[in-house]
Amino acid sequence: MIRAIVSRIKQGHRTMPYPAAPLQMPERFRGYPVAASLADSADRSPECPYGAFSAAEGGCLDMGKCLFCAECPAGNIEFTTDHRLAATKREHLLVTPGAPRQFAQALSNDLLRILGRSLKFREVSAGGCNACEADTNVLSTIGWDLGRFGIQFVASPRHADGLWVTGPVTNNMTKALLTTYDAIPEPKIVVACGACAINGGPYIDSPQVCNGADGLIPVDLYIPGCPPHPGTILDGLLRIIDKIR
């Protein structure tokens, strides 16, 4: 017992100050795209194997499909270390040069009144590779301490206010996902976490998957990335409960 107390003192208080202080992102992190590089890549008749980039509108990157590959197969797209990628509307994930930056919006006043101070999710992995799951899980560790914002992952859909989807939604998980969604009482929200859950990710158009949750259930928050950085996830969550604007 005394050893545990000594260890506790040694390990110290390690919850990060975010969002009061900015996050330290790794210098090679690939976040929000550089607008100029989109225009540059549009001239090279781009071909992204995941359909994330098109030459339309002077170069349009769909962050919902983008895997933020280290070597962009669609040409020369560069990324900043800006981790704020989440959006509340699917079309807000489309980035074009010159278009205004779109962040996730707060829930409606009615929803905020009910869910704003206590938001519980039931997570369903529907074909996820365990990376989105792992970096969702990490938010509950002492480093991120998600509980301080009133957000928690719960064991039963009956106790939940929302469904948290990871994975491209495999044929074999579709029924379980929909059953879980139905078991959550109204009002409820849905979060699609990661490229797979948004649009199929690396498995887009595989005959074994449904290309994400979007066509099956109404999605309220899209969190891009393969997998999203925990900072990207937390940014989206804090924006929908109006803790950051």
């Binding site: 529907a126 990376a131 002492i142």
Partner: protein
């Protein structure tokens, strides 16, 4: 070893024509004979052809550090099952049946593995029509009958943030008589999509075959592509790959140590390790921007190099993490209430481990000295020797201790490598692969042996690409470990194996 087997080396390829095609009875006899002599099935798969199925089996002999391959062309739609004589073939035979429609006569457990339609429409081992939907988890489960025997069904959706799987327990009161595990919920069709590859998507698919083992699987894929193309990776890249692989092991072992502590209700270690795991993931992000190693490896080397400043940064963070992790883990061994829960829970014997063909920490916890880095060294492990940690009791405690011992060795390794990264380039140009060959790559991921086998056609494209995740060997180990245990110990036993659903389901 008889003349109808062809020796192969890890990270090399042989012409398909050099592997003699034998009759199916000789083929099965080859497997049984070699397994009898202490060999082990590493990979066993079918290649559907116009006139039937070609069966290929890769076997390993640890004693001599040998790998050998045998093959047979089967035109019949039936073949005898060898699972009753050789339990490690059990899942492989079911997988071949599901993918290629070959029926294994007298298989004791003949049911689907992943619940999908066969590669070739119409060749279905269970005579299901191609337009008939297949429902995951719907099969005949083994049942125990009798007074007060009851069945507990769990999943596919579980209580935590984990992947889906279905578990059926046959219980007598609290005691588990038998556990049957039915997976396939994560099936994304990876192997079917690899016919005719490599495709522009292939590297990202390999990175996400089991997303917590990105480096382990992409290293194996890169080795396959490099041997097919006949290119050599620069030494600097080999070191960077080795550092990334050990960081992946450290992150996951640390997470497991914390989760095991959490499952016995010991919160200090659970909390500390949950955070320290993030430190190792962040070190991987220093290498390539991704906490899971996405975008680090590519056929020909690594996409990113490491600067001197980054090296210093990593060494500093590694020293801090080592101190924190040591402190957190030592608490476990000095807490009798923790040790009381870990010891003698979910034990497997040495013999069971051998018969099931276990790999990785689960095998080493049963005293089976089996580690690809040591037995069939690849990459940097050909130059640096990592000691193999083993234990003898095969219980949750042994699997926990193995993780801590391996974590220490991995930290020593990374520190040593960071101080002596060879100069020179980190990447050479990738080239297209040669045709009509069979390439083999084994790596030691944090869960154990990862095996990739590619067979190419005349044009050098994949006529088959087979992935075996260590979980494929080890899930039956978890089922066996539960026998005679309290059902309330399932979460703890499960965590002590921590197997991959997506790596199994592909």
């Amino acid at each position: 070893m008889n003349g109808s087997l062809r020796t192969v080396y890890n990270g090399s390829s042989v012409p398909m024509a050099d592997i003699p095609a034998v009759g199916s009875s000789q083929f099965l006899q080859n497997i049984l004979d070699t397994v009898d002599q202490g060999w082990r099935i590493v990979s066993y798969f079918g290649i559907p052809g116009p006139a039937g199925v070609s069966l290929v089996c890769l076997l390993a002999d640890k004693g001599e550090g040998q790998l050998a391959v045998t093959r047979a062309d089967v035109t019949a739609d039936h073949i005898p099952s060898i699972s009753s004589l050789c339990p490690q073939a059990q899942l492989f035979e079911r997988e071949i049946a599901e993918q290629c429609g070959l029926i294994f006569d007298d298989h004791p457990w003949f049911k689907p593995v992943r619940f999908h339609h066969p590669f070739v429409p119409g060749r279905d081992a269970w005579n299901r029509s191609s337009d008939e939907p297949i429902r995951a988890g719907v099969m005949n489960y083994f049942q125990v009958a009798g007074d007060e025997v009851h069945e507990v069904a769990v999943g596919p959706v579980h209580a935590g943030i984990i992947e889906p799987g279905h578990f059926r327990f046959q219980c007598h009161g609290e005691e588990v008589f038998h556990l049957e595990i039915s997976l396939g919920y994560q099936h994304r069709g990876i192997e079917a999509a690899l016919f005719g590859g490599p495709h522009p998507r292939t590297l990202q698919v390999m990175e996400t075959a089991a997303g917590d083992t990105t480096i382990g699987h992409s290293q194996a894929y890169c080795m396959v592509m490099e041997t097919l193309a006949g290119i050599k990776v620069p030494p600097r890249a080999e070191v960077l790959r080795g550092i990334a692989l050990e960081l992946e092991r450290l992150a996951n072992h640390t997470g497991d140590l914390g989760a095991i502590a959490g499952d016995v209700g010991y919160l200090p270690t659970a909390s500390f390790c949950g955070r320290i795991r993030g430190d190792f993931l962040n070190m991987t992000a220093v290498l390539c921007g991704s906490r899971f190693g996405r975008g680090l490896l590519t056929p020909g080397g690594t996409i990113f190099d490491l600067t001197t400043a980054q090296c210093e940064d990593l060494l500093k963070h590694l020293a801090e993490a080592r101190s924190d992790l040591t402190d957190a883990v030592e608490l476990l061994w000095s807490s009798p209430s923790v040790m009381g829960r870990l010891e003698e829970t979910g034990a497997l014997t040495h013999e069971q481990g051998l018969a099931l063909g276990l790999v990785g920490p689960a095998a080493r916890a049963c005293g089976i000295k089996r580690d690809v880095r040591n037995d069939y060294p690849f990459g940097i492990y050909r130059m640096t020797h990592l000691p193999v940690a083993t234990a003898f009791h095969g219980d949750v405690c042994a699997r926990t201790m193995i993780r801590w011992q391996e974590a220490q060795k991995s930290m020593d390794f990374i520190e040593e490598q960071l101080r002596q990264i060879p100069a020179g380039g980190h990447r050479v140009t990738a080239l297209p692969g040669k045709g009509l060959r069979l390439a083999v790559a084994l790596t030691e991921g944090w869960r154990g042996e990862i095996c990739h086998v590619a067979v190419t056609d005349e044009a050098g494209q994949f006529s088959r690409y087979k992935i075996v995740d260590p979980s494929f060997h080890n899930w039956p180990g978890l089922a066996m470990a539960l026998r005679g245990q309290q059902i309330s110990d399932f979460p703890l036993c499960n965590k002590s194996f921590n197997l991959s659903y997506c790596g199994f389901d592909l």
